[in-house]
Amino acid sequence: MDIMDKLKQGVCAINVVIEKSDIPTDEGLLASGILDSFGLIELIGFIESEFNFEMEDDEFTGDNFKDLTAVKAYVERKIA
């Protein structure tokens, strides 16, 4: 499973009514309603656990978490 697949799996575990195939990668996570504010926190927890790193406070930015494409790029930088 590649990084995007895992991220989508994480989103599905948080928002239980969404199907993996319906998750957009280029739409704002909050703006699209896919996740609420708590859901974003849950996503951080998922990422840290799944990819085995700890996020720094100042990395939780609009740029890094704008949409799933941005989150994927952030994760790739962290695990590189």
Partner: protein, 656 residues
């Protein structure tokens, strides 16, 4: 607090004989509201019944009460706190009294002033007066909705009661799910206006009376919260004096009873004030307080309750609640509330009233209403922040205040400031909407609709929450400040539809306990409406002038404590074997065809994997699903299958 019921037709009752026994059974079904005495009154046009919780004039205050002199009958639930003063005024007009009850005062007031007498009442009430001479009936409810009153009209026959289940005992009344009510409740957490969760069964609105005669039905709002008169520019000290005097008066009035009046104590500011004021009037009189404690320390306020007990020397009885205690009786919560709920918070209060009843007491005074009238809730701060962000979205001063809004929610943390700012910025697009203050709540609540089956969602899509609320707003609403609008909406929704009903009256009356609310004395509500906004929410200091007024008589830790909203363990309390086996399973959910089992099952899995860190939305959604599923199940069973109630002595009056 009692239970009332009635069947009325100005043209005469069509099934008079059947309805006599039916009305008796309806009255007996409200035994939990009025265990002390039962009475019925029969006439050609109407039967009314009363289940009494005897509080004032124990010996001669039986109901229904009939005045032969004035040819009036009444069945009344509640208290008229200024009844001695009203009685004095009527005696000066040569009215004679046969009892010492407030009920008789109501009859004489009606005789003197007609239904306009309602403006003179300071109380909490729901009553029906049959004016036999004029062949009409009046139903009336208090200004803020402390006491319930429901009704339906079928083929010209009016059927009313304190309990919807009692109305459902009538063979012509069907139990049908109220989709509009459900749509309202997922958006604003409660029903709105006269809506109930039972189709074609309505509520008398707070501050409303209904008249029914051969001329038809007419309804009128006799009181509503208003800020049209503007605020007064008095000094802080002047306001403190007025608040102290008025609240002392409100508490003193609410001590009027022929039984002991005790108090609930939460550990917060409002119940602490109430306790001190009650004690202040009669320090020698034995006073007890009752509290809820939680085994989960996140929710527990025992420390502050004990602080007040040490400060006052008042004996406190605490009921310790675990998640299991909530899950075990959640069915009873929904049964008594007669609607789905979005929180488990009513459950501990069900236990608490049970404890009060065990100890032999009937009346408690509580601090409900203070957060609405004195601006204690975080929604006031949230609206203030959003309003200022709307003018300047990147204003760091206001953004920095966001984390303080809901500190008990994990995401409301300075670490997540950027994300929270982004979340709130999204909500700033409708600043001109009358519902601006509640738009975050409305938007969050919609999520539960994702769990509803498509055909039900289609049914619900017919409704529009803005259309339900906006046309009903008073003419002057648009001129009020953002926070005044917030208060109005909060009182019309959360206060009336949930706090005073599902969490208040229904949980206390389940164990025959009457709650009394000094902060909801209409003089208090009107007084606070005149206070400038900045003295109620001062920067981010909630209930500023209220705290300043009573700072000298309260422990500093109580006054300076930040707002701790009353909450109880939520979704985890309902993840019990009993609830899952009986309601939240594939068979029941599929049979009901309301929720989508696939999504419900996923949510159950998610919650079972992580019971400790559950979001507000997941809690809200899960409790909504659990209670709605129970409610729908009850619609086909518990709400409509009534046992033959035990034959208790029922006093009968015949009016010819």
């Amino acid at each position: 607090m009692c239970g009332i019921a009635g069947i009325y037709n100005p043209y005469g009752l069509t099934d008079a004989l059947r309805d006599k026994e039916l009305l008796k059974q309806m009255t007996l079904s409200m035994d939990h509201r009025g265990p002390d005495e039962k009475g019925v009154l029969y006439s050609d046009t109407g039967y009314i019944g009363h289940a009494r919780l005897s509080i004032i004039d124990i010996e001669t205050g039986q109901q229904p009460m009939y005045s032969k002199d004035y040819n009036l009958g009444i069945t009344f639930n509640g208290e008229i706190f200024n009844y001695p003063e009203l009685r004095k005024g009527l005696k000066e007009k040569n009215y004679n009294f046969h009892t010492t009850s407030d009920t008789e005062v109501l009859l004489c007031l009606y005789r003197e002033y007609g239904i306009d007498m309602i403006d003179r009442l300071n109380g909490q009430f729901a009553f029906a007066i049959i004016d036999f001479s004029r062949n009409k009936i009046f139903l009336a409810r208090d200004r803020v909705g402390i006491r319930p009153l429901f009704y339906t009209i079928i083929n010209g026959t009016l059927i009313f009661s304190s309990c919807i289940k009692t109305i459902l005992m009538h063979p012509k009344v069907d139990a049908a799910f109220g989709y509009k009510a459900y749509h309202q409740s997922v958006h604003i957490w409660t029903t709105y206006g006269d809506e109930t969760f039972f189709k074609d069964i309505n509520s008398i609105k707070p501050g409303e009376f209904l008249e029914y005669s051969k001329d038809g039905v007419s309804k009128k709002i006799y009181w509503d919260l208003s800020f049209d008169d503007g605020t007064q520019d008095l000094t802080c000290d002047d306001w403190k004096e007025k608040i102290s005097e008025s609240l002392n008066q409100a508490v003193q009035l609410r001590r009027r009873a022929d039984v002991p009046v005790n108090a609930y104590l939460s550990g917060g500011l409002d119940s602490a004030i109430t306790l001190k004021l009650i004690q202040g009037h009669h320090p020698e009189r034995k006073l007890e307080s009752y509290s809820v404690g939680f085994t989960d320390k996140v929710f527990d306020e025992t420390y502050y309750q004990q602080l007040m007990n040490s400060d006052t020397g008042i004996k406190n009885t605490a009921v310790m609640i675990s998640p299991k205690d909530i899950g075990d009786i959640f069915k009873q919560v929904v049964w008594h509330a007669e609607q789905p709920v979005f929180r488990t918070a009513p459950a501990p209060l069900y236990h608490l009233s049970g404890k009060v009843n065990d100890k032999g007491y009937k009346v408690v005074m509580t601090g409900e209403g203070a957060d609405e009238v004195a601006w204690g809730y975080n929604i006031f701060k949230e609206t203030q922040i959003r309003y200022h962000m709307a003018k300047d979205p990147d204003n760091q001063e206001w953004i920095s205040r966001i984390p303080s809004l809901y500190p008990y929610q994990e995401q409301f943390n300075k670490r997540h400031l950027h994300m929270l700012a982004g979340f709130y910025k999204q909500s700033l697009t409708n600043t001109d909407s009358p519902l601006f203050s509640h738009s975050v709540r409305i938007s969050n609540g919609k999520r539960v609709l994702n769990f509803v089956n498509p055909d039900i969602r289609e049914e619900l899509a017919r409704f529009d929450i803005e259309e339900d609320i906006i046309p009903t707003l008073p003419g002057g609403f648009c001129n009020w400040s953002p926070l005044q609008k917030t208060q109005y909406l909060e009182m019309k929704t959360l206060l009336t539809g949930y706090l005073l009903s599902s969490q208040g009256d229904r949980m206390s009356m389940a164990h025959s306990v009457e709650g009394r609310y000094p902060f909801l004395d209409h003089n208090i509500v009107e007084l606070f409406a005149k206070i400038p906004d900045r003295l109620k929410l001062n920067g981010m200091k909630e209930k500023f002038i209220l705290k300043e007024t009573f700072r000298d008589i309260l422990p500093e830790e109580i006054t300076d404590r930040s707002k701790h909203p009353y909450r109880a363990p939520e979704a985890i309390s309902l993840l019990t074997e009993n609830i899952l086996e009986a309601y939240l399973n594939e068979s029941e959910i599929t049979k009901q065809n309301f929720f989508n089992w696939k999504f419900v099952n996923r949510l159950i899995d998610k919650l079972q994997k992580n019971r400790t860190n559950v979001s507000f939305n997941d809690n809200f959604t899960f409790i909504n699903i659990a209670s709605t599923t129970m409610f729908i199940s009850f619609l086909n069973n518990e709400f409509i299958h009534h046992p033959k109630y035990p034959d208790r002595y029922v006093h009968e009056t015949e009016v010819n």
